[in-house]
Subunit: 339 residues, 2 copies
DNA sequence: ACCCTTCGTCGAAGCGCTTCGAAAGTCCTG
DNA sequence: CAGGACTTTCGAAGCGCTTCGACGAAGGGT
């Protein structure tokens, strides 16, 4: 192994000088710096991470904590993770992947052993058991999602309230007056995952505000139950012409169920989904949708974390604006509608 | 921060004694051990990871390297990742997530800086640029997937050859004689990702061996192109009654396209897929399938890695046997078939 | 010519841990 | 009861790095 002493000897300087060249914490003359850098290159020197973290109290590693319930939609989780890693690297940090199945102890361990400098919590729930722990740990942290009491915590997420509203506004602009929301499974609402509720609130608020009729119902993920939900909705509320779907897993089944009911999309019924682009583009017709900007959320959370590590004060809540992409599943309501 | 010296003082022993209690590398009397352990608990001591890695040359961290092309199916990747983390924890190791977008340098960096003891490479391709680097690094490693020249490398994967064969055998056992394989997109075959080719080889070998007719064609992932492929297949080869699908992303579209052609599954056509269970269970009818045992592969790779870290010799190739689950998409060929 | 800065570099201490050799204590054996 | 063989614990060195104080050399003002 090549050590800083080897580099120093090769360059004819003191080890501390090499350290200062690398960290830039003191001025080093240009000629010396060049000599040191070239020695580093020649010898293929890489600082020993452990030694560095021992001496400097900084590991340059952040923890990325996966949610407790892996019921969460995996591809989106993965997109988050990739964005977090990529962004962290831009700040010269690495990422330690921590699962919650050790319980909160895993978090405590990586923090207390000085393995990580800071923490990103993914897919935070309203009553997340990891959150109290986070408060007692002294490490900077950022949450993706919102817990019940986010005071003093830094949280990042898509603005689901706005997302729900954006869907309503889009449908309203096309002339639709009778809207429905097919949301997450009932269990998700009960569990109190914030995003489902916030979407529903945004949906209801917007329909109210615009003087439209809006029905919000939960929706399971399994094909047959989806069919049942759709059946119930369409028979009880045949007047509905605009449908908002906030349930990635059920999207495909819902489209099938609508077809089975003889409702053509978008001719008879316009559909807007809140889901990743890839899901929206894999249906027939493609879905107008509000995407979950996983990359943006991941990148933003790391950026905030780095600012906190630098001692900056950052805003408590960062809500990323929804972006609605119009595709093939929404169309204007025909002028003469039976009503 | 609580250090080993604090613990030693509290327990009335030398720091080295505490260290030996923790590592078990020397015998410590039961009474002393109890005293030390209780001090550790009382003080809430966690060893400093950096100091430990500096002194012992072991970081107890392994690198998990994501594939270069994130085109790979993300949920499966995530399942791998979770399994790797969970298993690593059982061996008291943590996992550093490394993306390949820094190029091979990222790998070199984490290895050379002693940040990780060993490396797991996910989704290895036939001509993977990371593989030569792995050979020059001295760290133990395990690959998930097979490169073109796996000599001397430890590789783990589903046995795709057997998987292709298993699908054929299942269909054959139901009396089907004319089979087809809808595989990965052409680009995947060209790129040389081993698993696609191995499945095809297994499929063709088995049809050959059993004296069946077998047609293997590639298949894109987009809905309209899938429809075109299915159309071509069914019109050119109307005799086909058994279909093997090895393309997760296209599964749903294929089912739709078959229906559009008036082919009922499984009445007119039996379908077996090679895909994760969740995909197989979300179609109508549910799909008989060979699953990609992501958890098993992830766990197995870590287990092998740990054995290598302990200096054991492990087998070069670990092929996990396919397991076929019969669901609703396969049925016996009616005795009298127009042929 | 002198003192006072400023700049660039060096040397040494110390981060918290592991590990090796040795010391102290215990127990047999002859 | 001396001497060997263990057992259990200690002390100190050292892992590779950062950082702080200090020092010599230049430069500026008087």
């Amino acid at each position: 192994m090549v050590t800083i002493t080897d580099v120093a000897r090769h360059a004819g300087v003191a080890p501390s000088t090499v350290s200062y060249v690398l960290s830039g914490k003191r001025a080093i003359s240009s000629t010396t710096r060049q000599r040191v850098l070239s020695s580093i290159r020649v010898l293929g020197y890489h600082p020993h991470a452990g030694a560095r973290s021992l001496a400097s109290n900084r590991s340059n590693v952040i923890a990325l904590v996966l949610p407790l319930r892996s019921g969460m939609h995996l591809p989106v989780l993965m997109q988050f993770a990739i964005a977090v890693v990529t962004t962290a690297r831009q700040y010269d940090h690495d990422v330690l992947l921590v699962t919650a199945d050790e319980g909160p102890d895993g978090l405590r361990r990586v923090a207390a052993s000085a393995m990580v400098d800071a923490i990103v919590l993914m897919d935070v729930e309203l009553n997340d058991t990891r959150v109290p722990l986070l408060r007692e740990l002294d490490r900077p942290s950022v949450l993706i999602g919102f817990p019940a009491e986010p005071d003093g915590l830094t949280c990042v997420d898509l603005d689901f309230f706005q997302a729900g509203a954006a869907c309503v506004e889009h449908l309203a602009s096309l002339g639709h007056k009778d809207l429905a929301l097919l949301g997450a499974p009932p269990a998700v609402y009960e569990r109190g995952t914030g995003f489902a509720q916030r979407t529903r609130a945004g949906f209801l608020d917007a329909t109210d505000r615009l003087g439209l009729s809006g029905i919000a119902i939960a929706c399971e993920e399994e094909t047959d139950q989806v069919a049942a939900s759709v059946h119930t909705l369409l028979t009880r509320h045949p007047e509905v012409t605009g449908l908002v779907v906030h349930n990635e897993a059920a999207v495909a089944s819902i489209m099938v169920a609508l077809a089975a009911h003889g409702r053509r999309v978008p001719d008879d019924l316009s559909v807007v989904a809140i889901c990743p682009d890839e899901v929206a583009e894999r249906t027939e017709p493609t879905l107008s949708s509000v995407l979950i900007p996983a990359e943006e959320v991941g990148a933003q959370s790391v950026t905030l974390l780095m600012r906190k590590l630098d001692g900056e004060i950052v805003p408590d809540a960062s809500l990323l604006a929804p972006r609605l992409t119009v595709r093939g599943s929404t169309a204007a309501l025909p002028a003469a509608h039976g009503g």
